[in-house]
């Protein structure tokens, strides 16, 4: 059974990430972001989701052991919202307060090809909830999607299955939310 853990950064929808994975028959568990990396490695997980977090946590401060996780765990990872912003900061990008924050319904526009987009159309409805956003992509990353008010919606490492999503694929109202997770699970299985 594929094993994907959710690292809890204190988001409102962390538990929804767990539920979505559980519904897709993945062996999943929510673990605190202070869990020692050694323990995560011992669990032999196939993938990780770095959840969103309390207001502004993506802008400054640490997300528990997320930095060490990114440095030491070589498996597919998706960072969501604050998790995404943290990935960008960790690899040398920049996160700033959004000029126009996004809450609720937004149209996501995908402009690159990637396995994470299998069976997902170029324009779809996603649900957002953020005050800050990535304003500079780190070296070795590319931007795959945007929206009307947020230029960087999905970042991906050039050589690894390491993604950052500004929007929330885990909530009911994101049109292709489950498909994003299915595609991620595939990447975890083939890794």
């Amino acid at each position: 059974m594929t094993k994907i853990f959710v690292i809890d950064n204190g988001g409102q929808w962390t538990h929804r990430e767990w539920r979505t994975l559980k519904y897709l028959d993945v062996d999943t568990k929510i673990i605190q972001n202070t869990t020692p990396v050694k323990e995560i490695l011992n669990e032999k997980v196939n993938g990780l989701v770095l959840s969103g977090g309390s207001p502004r946590i993506g802008l400054e401060g640490n997300l528990g052991n997320c930095a060490e996780i990114l440095d030491k765990v070589e498996i597919p990872i998706i960072g969501i919202c604050a998790g995404h912003q943290f990935i960008a900061r960790h690899y040398g990008g920049k996160v700033e307060p959004s000029k126009i924050p996004e809450f609720g319904k937004v149209e996501l526009i995908i402009f690159e090809k990637d396995p994470i987009f299998n069976n997902i159309v170029k324009k779809s409805i996603v649900w957002e909830s953020h005050n800050d956003e990535v304003t500079k992509i780190p070296n070795n990353f590319i931007n795959l999607a945007n929206s009307e008010n947020c230029e960087i919606q999905i970042i991906k490492h050039k050589d690894k299955s390491l993604y950052g999503f500004q929007f929330h694929p885990e909530v009911e109202h994101t049109e292709y939310g489950i498909q994003f997770f299915k595609n991620f699970i595939k990447l975890c299985e083939s890794n």
């Binding site: 988001g11 409102q12 962390t14 929804r16 609720g104 319904k105 649900w127 909830s129 009911e172 109202h173």
Partner: protein, 315 residues
């Protein structure tokens, strides 16, 4: 997928392990607490006592229908009219968080009294995932203190049992259907009741206004859905705003309060979209509210906010 039969089986087994004595369930007659009562009842039988509290902030005819439900389910129950205590404790309280915490504490003190008299050790609550997620803690931000989590006093004497903690409403409904409970499709109603649908002080008089308005919204929307004129929303109700506006009623100047109508679609309350109620139905609701509550209400508005950025209830 979520398998309700398996959940029922595992939960009953776990309840039998966890509960070793007389137990009280906080019973509101909603889907969550009714599912809990049914599961715990199956596990420990008459050692379970269901306690329903009339807070005074109930909807029209609600206390009577809850009594009937408890009888129908053959629960060993106590019904406590605590409306005076609740109205008294919320006098002069305007802050929504303060309201929720006072209400949460009132409930627990009432349960503790029953527990003392009847030698009860355990308190079962129908807490579900959004309740503890939104109540927050040192780690997660507090969106609102759900009375059954963030509203619990620190010095509580009862051992807490919450069998539905990891479920969302759509999953609880699946369990309710498997258990063949008549409340399985009932719309959610918050524990603090109408008190958090009154922005500002939740007095007896203002409760009466919002109770009437909620009744109109419920009846009209349920009727329209029954006649296939609209999809039944996930939740639908009225909110009394503390704002006054000028109107004209019977050739005379009016200066009354505003009612907001709220109706949303969701499956789990974690994200919601506002319902697209057909305009002739919303017009009918507006007319009824201003005609029935004419001397108090002369304006009705419709809430067109999704969640996020809004929440379902206004407080």
């Amino acid at each position: 997928m979520f398998k309700s039969e398996k959940f029922i089986e595992e939960t009953i087994k776990k309840i039998r392990q966890d509960i070793k004595g007389r137990t009280l369930i906080a019973f509101s007659g909603g889907v969550d607490s009714t599912v809990c009562a049914s599961l715990v009842n199956k596990a420990i039988g008459d050692n379970l006592i269901a306690v329903n509290v009339d807070t005074g902030y109930m909807r029209k005819n609600e206390p009577e229908s809850i009594k009937k439900l408890m009888e129908h389910m053959k629960l060993n129950y106590r019904f406590i009219d605590a409306s005076d205590m609740f109205f008294e404790s919320l006098k002069g309280v305007f802050d929504p968080e303060e309201k929720r915490k006072i209400i949460g504490e009132n409930f627990i003190r009432i349960f503790e009294n029953v527990a003392k008299d009847e030698k009860i050790e355990y308190l079962v609550q129908g807490t579900i995932a959004p309740d503890w997620i939104e109540s927050g803690d040192d780690f997660r931000d507090t969106i609102k203190s759900h009375h059954n989590v963030g509203g619990l006093p620190e010095d509580m004497n009862l051992k807490l049992i919450e069998p539905l903690r990891d479920l969302y409403k759509d999953e609880v409904r699946k369990v309710a259907r498997s258990l063949k409970l008549i409340v399985s499709e009932k719309q959610p109603f918050p524990g603090p009741g109408l008190a958090i649908r009154i922005l500002g002080e939740a007095t007896r008089e203002r409760t009466q206004i919002v109770r009437e308005a909620c009744d109109i919204v419920e009846k009209e929307i349920e009727n329209a859905a029954k006649n296939n004129n609209m999809e039944l929303p996930w939740q639908y109700f009225a909110v009394l705003l503390p704002t006054k506006s000028v109107g004209v009623q019977g050739d005379k100047r009016a200066y009354g309060f505003v009612i907001a109508i709220r109706a949303v679609q969701s499956i789990d309350a974690m994200t919601c979209v506002f319902s697209k109620i057909p305009s002739d139905i919303i017009e009918k609701i507006s007319n009824k509210i201003t005609n029935n509550l004419g001397n108090k209400i002369n304006r009705v508005v419709y809430d067109i906010t999704n969640k996020p950025p809004g929440t379902v209830e206004w407080e």
